[in-house]
């Protein structure tokens, strides 16, 4: 799956995006995995949302290997 990072999450992870080959998981499972891979991201986890293929996901929503996933920090448009 392709994982996109934005704004502050991009800064702490150090990647704009990356490709991960993971077994099927959920939005919650993916965020837990990423916080393990990138411990600097973990303190922000409660504020992060996950989008799957361009739509906000619920924590139990499934994520498959061909999905595009985005890690969404607190938004600040306007």
């Amino acid at each position: 799956m392709k994982i996109l990072f934005f704004a502050g999450a991009r800064d702490v992870v150090g990647y704009d995006d990356l490709v991960a080959d993971l077994p099927p998981t959920t939005a919650r499972g993916l965020l837990e995995y990423l916080c393990g891979e990138f411990p600097a991201l973990a303190p922000y986890a409660p504020s992060l949302r996950v989008a799957v293929n361009g739509t906000y996901a619920s924590w139990d929503d499934p994520i498959a290997n061909d999905d595009e996933v985005a890690i969404i920090p607190p938004v600040a448009g306007g």
């Binding site: 996109l4 922000y44 600040a76 448009g77």
Partner: protein
């Protein structure tokens, strides 16, 4: 009418889009880069978007406030913006002003809450992403 662009945005195209013979009121919200935030000087705001999702979220929000009588338009600018630059414009037309004001207010409130756009404030004290520092939690065991 949803626009997400790195170019300057102006109110006229949005006003033209929402104008109707039946619409006696048009409410307009214009969000402008200001020179301070929380007591700090701001010289530049750098906007970043998850572009396809930002557009689809703005479309979803616009659809939700559109009715037979209410027409809306939204434009958001991204990239580096200076003090005084327009960052966002929301326009809503309706037969009477209460519905126009209400739709315009809902548009900007929902955009600020849900659309994946971020801004990095630049000032004499450095640069940081708005809302990111507050998003950090200390580990609780």
């Amino acid at each position: 009418m949803i626009t997400l662009t790195e170019e300057p945005i102006t109110v006229e195209p949005l006003l033209g889009h929402v104008s109707r013979p039946s619409a006696g009121g048009i409410a307009l919200f214009v969000g402008v880069v200001r020179d301070h935030a929380d007591g700090r000087a701001v010289t530049l705001l750098e906007y970043q978007a998850y572009r396809p999702m930002a557009i689809s979220e703005m479309e979803r929000i616009a659809r939700a406030v559109t009715t037979d009588e209410v027409t809306v338009a939204v434009a958001h600018r991204i990239g580096p913006l200076r003090v005084g630059d327009i960052a966002v414009i929301c326009a809503a037309s309706a037969p009477h002003r209460p519905e126009a004001f209400s739709a315009c207010r809902t548009l900007i409130d929902e955009i600020k809450a849900h659309v994946p756009i971020w801004k990095r404030e630049h000032g004499p004290e450095g640069a940081y992403w708005v809302g990111w520092r507050d998003a950090r939690c200390e580990d609780e065991h």
